[in-house]
Amino acid sequence: MTTQGWLQILLYVAVLVAITPLVGGYLARVYTGQPILLDHFLRGPERWLYRIFRVDPNRGQDWRAYARSLVVFSLAGWLVLYLILRTQDIHPFNPQNFHSATWDVTFNTASSFLTNTNWQYYGGETTLSYFSQMAGLTVQNFLSAGVGIVVAIALIRGITGRSERSLGNFWQDLVRTQLYVLGPLAIIGALVLVSQGAVQSVSHYLTVRGPTGLSQTIAVGPVASQEVIKELGTNGGGFFNTNSAMPFENPGGFSNFFEMLLVLAIPAGLTATYGRMVGSRRQGWAIFSAMAILFVVGVTVAYAAEAHGSPAQHAAGLHTSAFTGSTGGNLEGKEQRFGIPGSALFDTITTVTSAGAVNSAVESYTGLGGAVPFANLSASEVIFGGVGTGLYSMLLFVLLAVFIGGLMVGRTPEYLGKKIEAREIKLVSLGALITPLSALLATGLATSIKTGGRASPPISTPALIGKPQGFSETFYAYLSQANNNGSAFAGYSGYVQPSPGNIGAHGVTVPDLLGGFTMLFARYAPILFVLAIAGTLAGKKVSPAGLGTMRTDNPTFVVLLIGVILLVGALTFFPALLLGPIVQALTNHLY
């Protein structure tokens, strides 16, 4: 650990705290229709979009109508994405002449990008045409992020609503998200990334001959335009196989910092949006505080663990302490330009959110360092979480905490003046438990059948079968897909590439389908529950706060909320975590 490392982490947290009210305030204006500067330029295009979409933006939708529009739109998105990915043979912008991946891999990929997961059973630069990356994946990077955000906004409207007849209009929210939020930020962000060295080209891969006469083929592509929305929309799917570790995606120290800010900008900002929309900024800050505390603990543990080094390094005779000119630490699967702090911070940020982008190999993290992403995922992505998904998942826990708090003091639980009754708590419990349940069921299924777990031929590494690392890989795969995160212990795979650089990987059907269905179910089932909760809350009368009302904007509540999150996560996942990362964290034994 170095002072410089801690300073970088400290500066990141400080900047995040500073931009949260700015981003949040802007988002609140966008979704409440208050005037903003961009109106002058975008009001026209916005109206034009409503006209060709044939929608009346002023027509409010109740939760069922809102959910129906969302589901139908998602279904259309899935079909178009699947079609694009399966027709690479006729694509323009396919200079490497890549064929399409097989149907099972494509099912997984389409489900993955639709659900904001961006789990990748393929290597981008060896599988996908530029057209697939742009018209297929980049588009869903924008749209899946938009869908997450609008659900959070609908839930806020439910909480503040006076009538169950309207949660807003799905199409209006979606269009405004793209036009006023994601679009402009992506354009600016892409140029910032190119200025730092990210590539942005549609040319053929470059072949060079180096000083000793060896030839090297260098993949390029329209990278920056996808990279920026990959981070901003907490998507996380890399243009290249090694994601943000590849220098063309993340060329240096500043781009790394910038990408990390893009990831948390909206999830953190939405807490402030929430505060403004419910009329009490303290409510937003309370939620932000609970998230930030858990986040800071995570990054501290990850940095300390990675700086210490791994048992395998020590067994090989390596000294892992930092000294002048060397970062030290567990540098296996990490880049020199990020070092340990830039890797540990990035990894924590992309696993508390649903981004799942990586700039270092998660599988190579130490037991304790790797336990941090495990813990983040086990907390159901509520520590900031994905864009929108983080806030609405966190609000489920807030309602749960209010309910538990109400039981403790013996009063009917109320949140912001609305009574939380049996129906809401049933929906909250279902919504909060579906993701962990999907993760555990899929992991259990995968480990119990031959082709589901790490043992699956032909990708097996016999040395790992039945060992903690092998179990961690399988468990993490389904935990990540159920949480729509997308980061991976990447030794676990669902496709086979016969020889490197070869075109036409073929899939391993079981993990492809199991993962694909897990992602779809764990994304849309909670969304429907959240919208249903929004619907029932919207119709409730607001009762004025009295003396006995439990406050939800003070430190006591923050502690209670953190307690509930830890309790639910630990009770659900502790047995499984014991078998993987915790065993590895507790021992220096090599397997």
């Binding site: 942005q200 390029v220 060329p251």
Partner: protein, 219 residues
């Protein structure tokens, strides 16, 4: 329902055109004009021919020739190589062949795995074999971690300053240069932290090797 289906179909097509074609191509156009070097991958040229990218690590190695004089190939059909002692050497890479910039990958070696220990030990061995003749007293414990652990991208363009300083002894000796000249070049091609703060410093291996060749007047 019908209304939703019609709107969804129109919306997905319009968004695909706007966000999937217009936006990335516009960004490409602007980037190619505003930052042509960066947008195309910061190519480095020698005598007008591209020799690599500043951001992408590459191998500085010579093909091993078999008894018949032809280059030996491994089981994947890639040439077997030995590091060229005249050049600074990059970090270990998990790609096939190493530093494959069109099929990047991690090693995915776990923290408690014997396979990891063996891979690290073999990297240390290779490093000692190359450097020890020029740096007597170099032991496994003094090998910088970046020289023993494979990178994340498999094409890490940098090595640590400590690693470069050890290799400098070999370079100076093989190229008959004063050590001070080599050390000066190292500090010249060290990419510091961005704005003096972000990230970690690293020595750009390709730039450094090209500068060495210029220094010698050979390519």
């Amino acid at each position: 329902m019908r209304r939703d289906i019609v709107t969804a179909a129109i919306a997905i097509i319009v968004f695909t055109i706007l966000l999937g074609v217009a936006y990335p191509l516009a960004m490409t156009g602007v980037s190619q004009v505003a930052f042509p070097g960066n947008a195309n991958g910061q190519r480095l040229y020698v005598n007008g021919k591209p020799v690599g990218s500043k951001l992408i690590g590459q191998q500085f190695a010579d093909p091993v020739r078999g008894a018949n004089g032809k280059p030996k190939l491994d089981k994947n059909g890639n040439p077997v190589t030995n590091p060229d002692p005249r050049y600074f050497q990059p970090r270990p890479s998990a790609t096939t062949p190493p530093d494959n910039a069109s099929a990047t990958t991690f090693s995915n070696l776990g923290p408690n795995s014997t396979a990891t220990r063996d891979a690290i030990a073999s990297n240390i061995q290779a490093y000692l074999q190359l450097e020890k003749p020029y740096t007597p007293g170099l032991t496994a414990g003094r090998v910088p971690v970046d020289a023993a652990n494979s990178s994340a991208s498999g094409v890490d363009p940098h090595i640590s300053q400590a690693n470069a300083s050890i290799q400098a002894h070999r370079i100076a000796s093989v190229r008959h240069l004063p050590l001070s000249t080599v050390m000066a070049l190292i500090s010249r091609y060290t990419d510091g932290r961005t704005l003096g703060f972000f990230g970690e410093p690293g020595v750009n291996v390709l730039e450094l090797n090209l500068a060495l060749s210029r220094q010698m007047g050979t390519h």
